[in-house]
Amino acid sequence: MLAYIIRRVFQSVIVLLAVGLVAFSMFRFVGDPIENLLGQERTVQDVERLREALGLNDPFAVQYARFLGRAVTGDFGISYRQSRPVSQIIAERAPATLELAFVSGVLALTVGIGLGVFTAIRRDGWAANIIMSVSLIGVSLPTFLIGILLIYLFGVQLRWLPTFGRGDVVDLGWWTTGFLTSSGLKSLILPSITLGLFQMTLIMRLVRSEMLEVLRQDYIRFARARGLSAKSVNFRHALKNTMVPVITVTGLQLGAIIAFAIITETVFQWPGVGLLFINAVQFVDIPVMAAYLMLISVMFVMINLLVDILYVWVDPRLRIDGRHT
């Protein structure tokens, strides 16, 4: 098992290096950093001096290494748009996104797994059919539309909940939290439902289909032939075996929530990293785009790694040779 972990870590590093290469290439080949930093009134000497100072005349590999070195310490350069260090901007906005992602993740998981198990066990009941039909709409409704509808219904018509922003936040030093104020909590409700809905339907359908597949297996049949109770068959036997593939996909989904936050933050004007990224794309603010890309990659790669290790830990069949099925 140790060999497996080491191999996966090695692979992850390769992936990160590749992503770093992509991010760095964006820097080098898209737009002109000099133009962005110096503006119109620049002389040739200014340009040359800046090029030297920024190290733009060095070979590609050297620049790439330098870029990576800086990235590892958290230095992503200066934002073209805000003229501030990118790392600072991201640090300011990260808590908003993380809190949102956390709440929607928890929501999506609990409701998704719960409903998935329910519709698998009672697959022919009327409740299950209704839930499945509604879930299909959930998958077909784009996230932004859900957000708009929720805002319209609860924010404009009913006036129960705020329509944009994060509400009042409490500053805890390097973190700002919306959990400690009532307006902060209220502001979290609609965005987290919006963000979580897609994941929820996905998880629900996945759990359902996996569980149905498991329930068809011979060992379930044998368990029934031994007269085990429905509770035992469904939960002790079936659910445990369902969880193995579900964990993999769910883990990956948790990473996707961060990315989907881009949409939700745009709809709700939520001051997080997602909204920052969209503005960066519109403005072609390369440093911010590259930083976002690198940070997201690190997060995804780490989540993937954790999920793979978890997978091997849960399924004893994989422990012997450590090979991934």
Binding site: Q217, D218, Y219, R221, F222, A223, R224, A225, R226, G227, L228, S229, A230, S232, R236, H237, K240, N241, V244, V314, D315, P316, R317, I320
Partner: protein, 327 residues
Amino acid sequence: MDMPVLSLRNLTVDIPTRHGTLRPVDDVSWDIAAGEILGVVGESGAGKSMTGNAVIGLLDPPAHISAGEVLLEGERIDNYTLAQMRHVRGKRIGMVFQDPLTSLNPLLTIGEQLSETILRHLDVSKSEADARAIQGLDEVGIPSARNRMGAYPHEFSGGMRQRVVIALALCAEPTLLIADEPTTALDVSVQAQIIALLKRLCRERGMAAMLVTHDMGVIAETADRVAVMYAGRLAEIGPVSQIVGQPRHPYTDGLMASTPAASAGQARLRQIPGAMPRLNRMPDGCAFHPRCPRAQDKCRVDPGPKVGTADERAACWFPIEQDEAAA
């Protein structure tokens, strides 16, 4: 013991499909007494497994029992509710399936799977359940049983796994065992061991057994009586020596002649021309008549006399008599 452990009376299973209703089990009747092993043979698709599934109530919908009765120690169980059946399965009927690898939950130790079954049906403490589990493993011949309790199914070889499966099926001490192709997925060398094990357990516990297989060799070794099934119907039933040595139904005769062990000494194996009819294309009258060398006009119209609990042994209008000595 006069009352048979298992009694099938005109058992019929139907499957409604969009092509019409299929009848994989048609009017099957037999009894199995305590300590007796009934071998149920036939080709793939003859309805043997379906019958077993119907007895234990594990038919996959839309298959269902459309007629007839299943009696376990005198009580009708075919009309039991799901909750009632759950107390019958494992406790009074044990079932063993073909593939030991897929029969065991890969994520639970065999100790866990054994104790949960015991705890479900017997009113004992956890530690007593564990003790019984170890005893069960011992009985089926798993060496150093105590140490293997924490092992996972994939850590056993095929033969050992099937022993574990048998232990699981019998741990709650049922009175009837249904074994559905228990040796088909095993190596030839291991098959004999498992067969011997099954025989011994049945004798020791006085358990009735229904052994479903398409392997005539296994039947000849193990069964006391044999039921031959063809296209969902019972072709012939009787003591094993008579079925093998003096078959009355032409199909049984063909079966014996095409089995190397049973027809030792012959130059060539005889084959039965044609194939068993598909359930949606059953011929009128006797199901076997298109392939039967003895068929007459009556066979094309009339299915054949009833077989089973009555004296009539073969479902044939023109059974092979003793003096004919086929082939």
